[in-house]
């Protein structure tokens, strides 16, 4: 456990350093895109945003501020600190992400079990083909398609925006579908292997219904590959939400992330990356612990 925490800190340190140097060592400063400013003013600006002095001093200064929980000021959205921006946008991204996460896991598990319960049938191969199609469809194609059908043609759901429950539905479906398909395929493959084992035959011979056999007995064993996919899933959802937020005009952290790259807004960029990584590491720790718990129960 302690070793895990130590390695998390090391990874976080690497993440911070890599981001910092990638941004600071690229040619062009954050104030280059605007009209020419006098040298004296630029010097003051650089001093205000702590971008003056040798690069190593800047780096250690940044690390020091981070340790105090200060993610510094954004160079684009003047006078707003990165902490402020993240406090506003992160809850939005996290809500969308968690909704999509739940949806992907539940839909994926159900669909995978549905396909695996019909071995060798046409339904099974159709279901698997469907999952392949939805993995191959980028979310920026799926999103506009769903908008076209459900918002414009049927007028059931809003086109975009944020705040109501209705506005959450389409974005989370768009974000979840490809990953639900990945989970469905994972579960299908491992269920197919599990369903031929002896304890399943025992369960069947006890006269249990197929539903109880699959959900009560087989799923406990077959779910392990899915559990170890949850960590990568969370990372992919955070990445994917950048696109989905753009499509549905959601004021989340993803849009700020893309803009901060284009605007060379280093500290905002760094802030988003650091917070994302911390969240993912905590999540991975939880997944790891629950995996061990599940694994132990099976072994005993």
């Amino acid at each position: 456990m302690l070793r895990r925490l130590a390695s998390m800190l090391i990874v976080l340190f690497c993440v911070v350093s890599i981001t910092f140097f990638l941004i600071r060592l690229s040619p062009g400063g954050p104030f280059d895109a605007e009209r020419k400013i006098p040298a004296a003013i630029e010097k003051q600006l650089l001093a205000k945003y702590k971008l003056d002095g040798p690069i190593l001093t800047q780096y250690t200064g940044y690390l020091g501020d981070l340790l105090h929980g200060d993610l510094r000021l954004s160079t684009k959205y003047r006078n707003r600190s990165v902490n402020e921006i993240l406090a506003q946008t992160l809850p939005v991204t996290l809500t969308l992400g968690s909704a999509a996460f739940l949806l992907a896991v539940l839909a994926g598990l159900w669909f995978g079990a549905f396909a695996a319960a019909r071995p060798g049938s046409i339904t099974e191969s159709m279901a698997l083909a469907l999952t392949l199609v939805s993995i191959s469809l980028p979310s920026f194609v799926l999103g506009p398609l769903l908008i076209l059908i459900f918002s414009i043609k049927l007028a059931w759901l809003p086109v975009g925006g944020w705040g109501t429950l209705q506005q959450l539905i389409l974005p989370s479906i768009t974000l979840a579908i490809p990953f639900a398909s990945v989970i469905a395929r994972l579960l299908h493959d491992s269920l197919r292997e599990t369903l031929v084992e002896d304890f399943i035959r025992t369960a069947r011979s006890k006269g249990l219904s197929e539903v109880r056999v699959i959900y009560g007995h087989a799923l406990r064993v077959a779910i392990l590959p899915v559990v170890s996919y949850l960590g990568p899933l969370a990372a992919n959802l955070l990445t994917g939400s950048i696109v989905v937020e753009t499509i549905f005009h959601i004021p989340g952290a993803g849009g700020f992330f893309v803009n901060s790259i284009l605007n060379r807004d280093g500290f905002l960029l760094g802030g988003v990356v650091i917070v994302y990584c911390v969240l993912l590491m905590i999540f991975n720790l939880i997944v790891d612990l629950s995996y061990r718990l599940l694994d132990r129960r099976i072994k005993s």
Binding site: S26, I135, P138, T239, T246, I247, Y276
Partner: protein, 290 residues
């Protein structure tokens, strides 16, 4: 290795070959005016323009074929780079001492759960200008125009090697226990010779299978980057950038559905063919999924 293809992989292989040939040869069949901006903007599909025209009046079919060249190029080169990195990493990890092996695989686990594409976005942006500056300073004209593409291919290769490393490492662990490896060791062959002469040739099959499965992920990643405006940029286009153009032109005022439909079909066919080919090959050599 013979050119025998397992039964289920023949159709996807055929579809893929047709796609590659059309993409390479197809653009030569069009009159030159089709590539230029024309008066007929947003024309729906017709006999003259089978897939319609885009917002500048260019022929969409021609753009799809040209975009396919870029998408496939990025996919194949990116996957090849990931193969190179993943195979060497997996091979070294699988044949090293347990401690080193576990450390190396722990790194892979960590990288799996880090938003890699996000780092790549930063990487692309900061290195692109640097490369462009270097290229123009040295007078490498070919590189100035396509520096973004080169960076894109490199960086996608850098992030997609993890699965390959896992597979190769698992296979190496299995192969190193075989008697012919022990025999080679008894005969006094060195570590690198054993890797190169005995382990690598036996990994070729599984590596090729996972190459077919890595290409679609690279193509999807490229589409993602291009959609955000950080991938392939005009005047070049890829399926991803065509799709993002199409996605923005779906609105209540103008239903230019063909701009979304035809690039999606091209992308979908290619990806499905690649997935099915990889899947069929994987089953035929009896390998399990990861």
């Amino acid at each position: 290795m013979s050119l025998y293809l397992p039964k289920k992989s023949r159709l996807p292989f055929l579809a893929l070959s047709v796609m590659v040939l059309t993409v390479i040869l197809g653009p030569f069949l069009f009159p030159p005016s089709y590539a230029l901006p024309g008066a007929m903007t947003y024309a729906p599909p017709s006999l003259a323009h089978l897939c319609g025209t885009d917002l500048n009046g260019r022929d969409l079919l021609l753009r799809i074929l040209e975009g396919g060249r870029i998408s496939l190029l990025v996919g194949i080169c990116g996957a090849a780079i990931s193969l190179l990195i993943g195979t060497s990493y997996g091979l070294v990890a699988g044949s090293a001492r347990t401690g080193i092996d576990q450390g190396m695989m722990r790194v892979v686990d960590i990288l799996y759960s880090v938003p890699r594409l996000i780092f790549i976005l930063i990487f692309i942006n900061s290195f692109n200008e640097r490369l462009q500056l270097t290229a123009s300073a040295h007078g490498w004209d070919w590189l100035v125009g396509s520096s973004r593409l080169v960076i894109l291919i490199l960086s996608l290769g850098i992030i997609e090697w993890l699965t390959m490393a896992r597979i190769v490492r698992g296979q190496t662990l299995m192969l190193r226990e075989r008697s012919y490896v022990a025999a080679a060791r008894v005969l006094g062959e060195g570590y690198w010779t054993i890797l190169w002469r005995h382990l690598l040739p036996n990994l070729a099959g599984i590596v090729l299978v996972y190459l077919t499965l890595a290409i679609p992920s690279v193509i999807i990643d490229e589409a993602f980057l291009s959609f955000l405006g950080l991938g392939v940029q005009a005047p070049q286009s890829s399926w991803g950038s065509l799709l993002s153009e199409g996605a923005t032109s779906i609105n209540p005022l103008r239903g230019a559905w063909w701009l979304l439909l035809f690039p999606s079909l091209a992308l979908l066919t290619t990806l499905l063919a690649l997935y099915n080919l990889g899947d069929a090959l994987r089953r035929s050599i009896g390998a399990k999924g990861n």
